[in-house]
């Protein structure tokens, strides 16, 4: 393994740790809404930084690893299906739309936040076998638009300060 690979691996490991810390920090904040899933999604910032610095595969990898480790560390195993579905769908869509359709990270953050909540709500409706859970969807989408725009703005602020490569 050469020096640049070691550096890359270390950076990815640190980014994953930062994502988990952000998610734990977020749990300490008072919830934005009393609706499950209505949160800032600060870990999305890390997904966008990884996307910018290493590309789509790494971004999805970090999001999925963070979701699994995070659920085991603080969410409990019962939170894993919601978290994993949200992380997978949102990171895949963020990768697909990155640098396309004229979207900045603000748009990418919005796509990430909204799709995360859509995936979680559908999984919740499936697990609870209750279609009425979808009643929460429009409210969660509105929360996610603002939260996603905020995380996108934060990602822009971080990435423009990063030294390349």
């Amino acid at each position: 393994m050469n020096k640049s690979n070691v550096k890359k691996l270390t950076t990815i490991a640190i980014l994953t740790a930062v994502a988990i810390c952000l998610a734990i920090f977020e749990q300490m904040l008072p919830p934005i809404t009393a609706i499950p899933g209505g949160k800032l999604g600060l870990a999305n910032i890390v997904t966008m930084i990884a996307l910018y610095k290493f590309g789509g595969g790494t971004a999805i990898g970090i999001a999925v690893t963070r979701s699994i480790l995070g659920s085991l560390l603080y969410g409990g195993a019962s939170a894993l299906p919601y978290s994993l579905a949200g992380a997978l769908l949102s990171s895949i869509l963020m990768v697909l739309f990155y640098r396309r359709a004229g979207l900045s990270f603000i748009g990418i953050g919005v796509i990430g936040g909204v799709s995360h909540n859509i995936a979680q709500t559908i999984v919740a409706a499936a697990i609870l076998q209750n279609i009425y859970v979808l009643t929460y969807m429009p409210v969660l989408m509105i929360v996610a638009v603002f939260a996603g725009a905020f995380t996108g703005f934060a990602a822009i602020q971080v990435t423009k300060r990063l030294k390349n490569p």
Binding site: S104, F105, L128
Partner: protein, 128 residues
């Protein structure tokens, strides 16, 4: 400050906000238009647990929902329902407070609990 938000960002944000708002308006003012809540329906893991007609509630009634998934205690009044105890970690269902409008729900994900308010017409149409 340099403008960072692009035109595509604005279109995306506006589209999602409009979509969600139309959904909310449709649900609250079309589906449940002009109706008041008449029934509390309690479901756990997709199964009917209990339901109560609000007209039969004269003073606040406490209902314990104890299942294999966990324990929640509800308080039902003549026009509302709220969760007053939950053994789940986040207690979001307690923070949700009382719901009064037909079509509103309270969810406790870890305990697989859905509490919703129905109006009689809708319940008739869907259930029977």
């Amino acid at each position: 400050m340099r403008r960072v938000i692009t035109k595509a960002d604005r279109v995306l944000i506006a589209s999602i906000l409009i979509f969600a708002t139309v959904w909310l308006i449709f649900w609250n003012f079309v589906v449940f238009s002009g109706q008041s809540a008449t029934e509390v329906i309690i479901e756990v893991n997709g199964q009917h647990f209990a339901s109560y007609h609000l007209s039969s509630i004269t003073e606040p009634k406490t209902v314990e929902v104890i299942t294999e998934f966990g324990t929640n205690i509800l308080e039902i009044t003549h026009d509302s329902v709220r969760v007053i105890y939950a053994d789940c970690p986040d207690k979001l269902d307690i923070q949700a407070g009382a719901i009064t409008r037909p079509g509103s729900i309270i969810v406790c994900l870890p305990n697989r609990l859905v509490v919703r308010l129905g109006s009689h017409r809708t319940v008739d149409g869907v259930t029977f």
